[in-house]
Symmetry: C2
Subunit: 127 residues, 2 copies
């Protein structure tokens, strides 16, 4: 499984972080501004910004005392592109699914379902 992919979505999928993302889509802000405008304590803001930064979704620029954060929109677009590529990719070529593909070759389940369906169908014909 592509670790980066689901981690990026997890980073976006949290209310506080989504608020931060929206703020930074409006403009760049330093931590104290985000903290004051959102009515949140500073450590809370810093912690979430770190998570977003680790996923490359935001960048930081220090200016003296202040650290200004900005949105990396390119990362967002690349994320969706990668996700679409993940969906379109051939299962058989994906290393994370090699075990899955192996199990899909064992037709146990598929055969069992097929057999059961036919058995039902037959018995229905007779009834």
């Amino acid at each position: 499984m592509d670790k980066k992919l689901y981690n990026a979505f997890k980073a976006i999928g949290e209310p506080t972080r989504l608020k931060l993302i929206k703020m930074l889509s409006h403009s760049s802000y330093c931590v104290c501004e985000l903290s004051e405008y959102l009515g949140m304590l500073q450590p809370r803001v810093s912690q979430h910004l770190k998570i977003l930064k680790d996923e490359g979704l935001v960048r930081e620029n220090r200016e003296g005392y202040w650290v200004y954060y900005s949105l990396d929109k390119e990362t967002f677009h690349r994320l969706w592109y990668d996700f679409m590529a993940f969906l379109d990719a051939d299962l058989k070529t994906m290393t994370d699914f090699s075990d899955v593909v192996k199990r899909m070759d064992n037709t146990d389940c598929r055969q069992r379902i097929k057999d059961t369906k036919e058995r039902i169908k037959k018995s229905s014909c007779y009834s």
Copy 2:
């Protein structure tokens, strides 16, 4: 804050669910197939499918004993569209940010930063 938006990303941002999504992008499967192919216990698969279904990311179709799940690709595309609209929207018109906008009008923070910066600049000129 748009509850649906971050919940959808949270749903995608989990390794097991991302695997399920990938499986269903390949084909429709019933729960017992997903369970067997992914090597997971059936309740685990059912529970995660429920979360995906609640977000409209997958659909279910019962066929006799079996419940076949399929990917709702339209929901995925709409999700990203909504997310982009969320980023582009004007903060002032977003009800979820009315308090934030109010606090941004209080120029306390901005003014404090400005003052500090000017004080630094001035003193730097003299040094």
